[in-house]
Structures are given as structure tokens and as C-alpha cells.
């Protein structure tokens, strides 16, 4: 459950045309309850950018290994003080990032191994000759 605790609006950035700031931001504070027990507090912003003529939001993400909580404002009404919030519990999202990281790490390891092996073995014949010589010398030494 998400409970709103406050809402405040202000102009931000340098002066733009007739506005005292380049954007108008509304800060929405909230508390999050999990199974009725207080879990965390957060803040999200709903911003109207005058320079770019667009609105955008900041998000709240509570990270976890097996699930994450995502909260973002959808719409708000300044006069009535009402805000519509988007809340989503995202399961196993960490596994996506972990999988990507593993793929990248695997490719780096593969590249480094192949790249370092390139200089050592130039032809299959050179590899065979080198191994045979070393092996025969060690066997001779062993017999002595």
C-alpha cells in the first residue's frame, strides 16, 4: 500500500520567457507499507518543462534480488491536491541485468583467451613440434 504524505510545487531552473523558471516541478512524498507494516518512504516528481513543452516524471525504484517496487506519478491535479500513482511490483528484473552482465563477461573472457592464444600458436605444426620436443626431453631426463 502507498500512502501520500505531502505534495509541494515549485519553479525550477533559470528564468524562461514569462516564467520564473524553465520548469514547474511537483514533489510527491509517500510512505510504502508492506502487509500493513511500514516499509520505506520515497519521493517522485511530476515536471512540466516549458523550454521543451513536455511533461515527464521521476520514478521511485526499491531494488531487491527477487522483486522490485516501481512507483511513478501518472497525473496530478494541483487545485484538488489529488495525484494518480502508478505502482508495479516487478519480479526477477535483477535476473535480466544479471544475464546481460554474464553475456558480456563471457564474451570478454572468450575474446581475451583467443587473443592471447593467437600469439602463442601460429601453425598447427609448430604446436606439435613444440610439444613433442618438451615431452621427449622430460622423458629422457626421467630415465637418467
Amino acid at each position: 500500500m502507498v500512502s501520500m504524505t505531502g505534495m509541494d510545487s515549485t519553479f525550477e531552473g533559470s528564468q524562461y520567457k514569462q516564467y520564473p523558471g524553465s520548469s514547474y516541478a511537483t514533489y510527491v512524498d509517500f510512505d510504502v507499507y508492506k502487509k500493513g507494516i511500514y516499509f520505506d518512504s520515497g519521493q517522485v516528481k511530476y515536471i512540466t518543462d516549458f523550454k521543451w513543452g513536455q511533461t515527464y516524471t521521476t520514478t521511485y525504484v526499491h531494488r531487491g534480488i527477487f522483486e522490485e517496487l516501481f512507483i511513478a506519478p501518472k497525473a496530478l491535479n494541483e487545485t484538488s491536491g489529488e495525484v494518480s500513482i502508478y505502482v508495479r511490483t516487478v519480479p526477477f528484473i535483477t535476473f535480466i541485468w544479471g544475464g546481460l552482465f554474464l553475456m558480456l563477461a563471457g564474451m570478454i573472457v572468450l575474446g581475451v583467451i583467443d587473443y592471447s592464444a593467437d600469439g602463442k600458436v601460429t601453425t598447427p605444426m609448430a604446436k606439435i613440434k613444440g610439444t613433442r620436443k618438451k615431452a621427449s626431453e622430460s622423458r629422457k631426463g626421467g630415465k637418467k
Partner: protein, 357 residues
Amino acid sequence: MNFGMILIWIAFILGAGSVIYSIIHLRTNNAHAVSLSRKLELGCTVLITLAILMLIYYLLTVSASYVYVYMHSSIDLEFVYRLSALWAGQEGSFLLWTWFTLLMLLAMQYTGHTKELSDTRLMNITRAICLCIVTVFLMLLVLKNPFSMYYGGVGAYVDISNWNPFVSAYPLVDGQGMNPLLRNPWMAVHPPVLFLGYAAFTLPFAAALATLLIDDERWIKISRDWMRLAWLFLTAGIGLGGFWAYEVLGWGAWYWTWDPVETSSLIPWITATAYLHSQTRVQQGEYRFLAPMLAVVSFILVIFATFVTRSGMWVSVHSWQDFTLEGMIIAIFLLVLLGSSLVLLVRRYFEENEDRC
């Protein structure tokens, strides 16, 4: 005087000259031609490096008389985002992509195990194809110069100069700044990583075309590491883009929404992954048709992804503009790549079938 604009023009002339001399060398085996071609290529790389440094300087100091700086940098922007403004727009990102390709081309010729192929016909053809591609990119930069400037007297009509480097700049003290959605650390690194991947796709493509022309099995020496690098950066780029979308974009905690541009960058990733699997058997004499085909298709799909982004034909969060001359040139370039590759691939396909018979 607008030195940046002139740098781009000279870089284009040097790039075109380098292509012409490399083709002369391939036809006549003239050693002087290849030497001259290499010098011109080096000169082109130096000039593009200077152009990048110049544009970074203008972005950091907010020299807003330059259209690109006005559109993407501003005084209230943090240092890191003024820097990342280099790849926030079309012209800057193309400049960066061209620069990466030129640097990788030099790295291929002068470093690593591909250095030993430096005077072979395979390397010369690969190099010539890469230079052709770079020259097309440079032509696009000439047409849509990152150093275009606002000119006109104070209070008079203000226009944009893309062709005259001697106009007196219209004095502007601040720019519009960066789109707020792009002011994010993940977004600051996502495009250059992606462009590194895109640039690295050029070399396996050129090597594959070279082997389709002269049937040299050593092409895999060039394509192996560069395709891995391309795959690595493309994977990281797509991942970073997904992470940004998840946190910022307001897709509702979704990292993937089958947006036309992200889908078009996933397709070359799939073909590149298939190529990486096929190349393990090339040294055993297998996949003589499939492996070059996948390398060629991967790069063509990268250019297609660029067309999707820059043509404005598809509605996407990545789109920059409506269909313009630049979009048309990319479309023509795409058709030329597709046509020439198709001819060579069909020839190889029938050769392979004849060998089996």
C-alpha cells in the same frame, strides 16, 4: 571564420581521395597509390578528431551561435550532460560514429594479429570498402554540418548557414539545452556504447565482402575479434538503453516495448549472435556461404536501424525528424549495400553448389 565547417569539408575530400587511391591501387597495384591513400586516411582521421574536440569545446563553453550547440547545450546544464550533448543530436552522433569507424580502421591495420595481413589484397579490399562507407558518412556530415551557424545582425532576420564559413555569427548567449529525458547518467553512456558497436560492424562486413570477391579464408582473422567487439558493445548498448527505459522513460517499469528503433537494433544483434556461432566452424571449411552472409546482413541491418532512427518514417521515442534529404541518402546507401552484397552472395551460393556437384 567557421573552422569546424571547413574541417568537415576537408575531411570529406581526404576521405574521398583515400577511396579513389585505394581503388587505383587495387586495379593497378601501384605502391605509390596505396601509400598516398593511407596518408589521406590518416589525415581524414586527424581532422575528424579535431572536429570532435572543437565541437566538445563549443558545447562545454555553450557557443550557442552554432545550431547544434544551441539545440543541445545550455548554461544551466551540468558538465557531464554538456559533454554528452555531443551524441544527443543527429549531426553529433554521426560525427562520433564516423570517428569510431576511422579509429577502428586504423586499429585493424596497425595493431593486433590483423597487422600481419597489412599488405595483402584481402586487407586492401577490406580497407577500401570501409573507406567507402566512411566517405558516405562524411558526405552526410557535409550535407548536415554539425558546425552550421546562426547568422544575421542583431534585430535582423536570423538564418542558418550550412555552406558559408565566413558569415558573422549571430550572438546568442544561451542554448535550448538538452531534452530532460536525456539528462540521465545511463542515457549519457547508452548512445556512444551503441555507436561503438555500430562502428565495429563495418569491419566484418568489409572483410566478408572482400572474401566474397577474392575467396580468401583469412577474412575470419579480421572478422572474428571485430564482430565480437561489435556484439559486446551492441549488447551493452541495448542493455543500457533498457535500463534507462526501465528507470526513466515512463514505460511503466518495462525495459522493452518493441519500439521500432530498439527492435531494429535487436535484429542485427540476433544475426551477429548467429554469425559468432557460425564462425567457429569456418576454419573447418564449413559455412563458406552462411558466415559471410551473416556478417554482411548484420551491417546492412545496422544501416537499416539508422534509417529507421533518422528517416522519421516510424513513430519512436528515438526518432529525430521527418523524412529529409539525409533520410533519402541513407535509403539510397542501404539499397546500394543491399544490391552489391546480394550479387556477391548469390555468386558464392552458386559456386558452393557447383563445388558440391
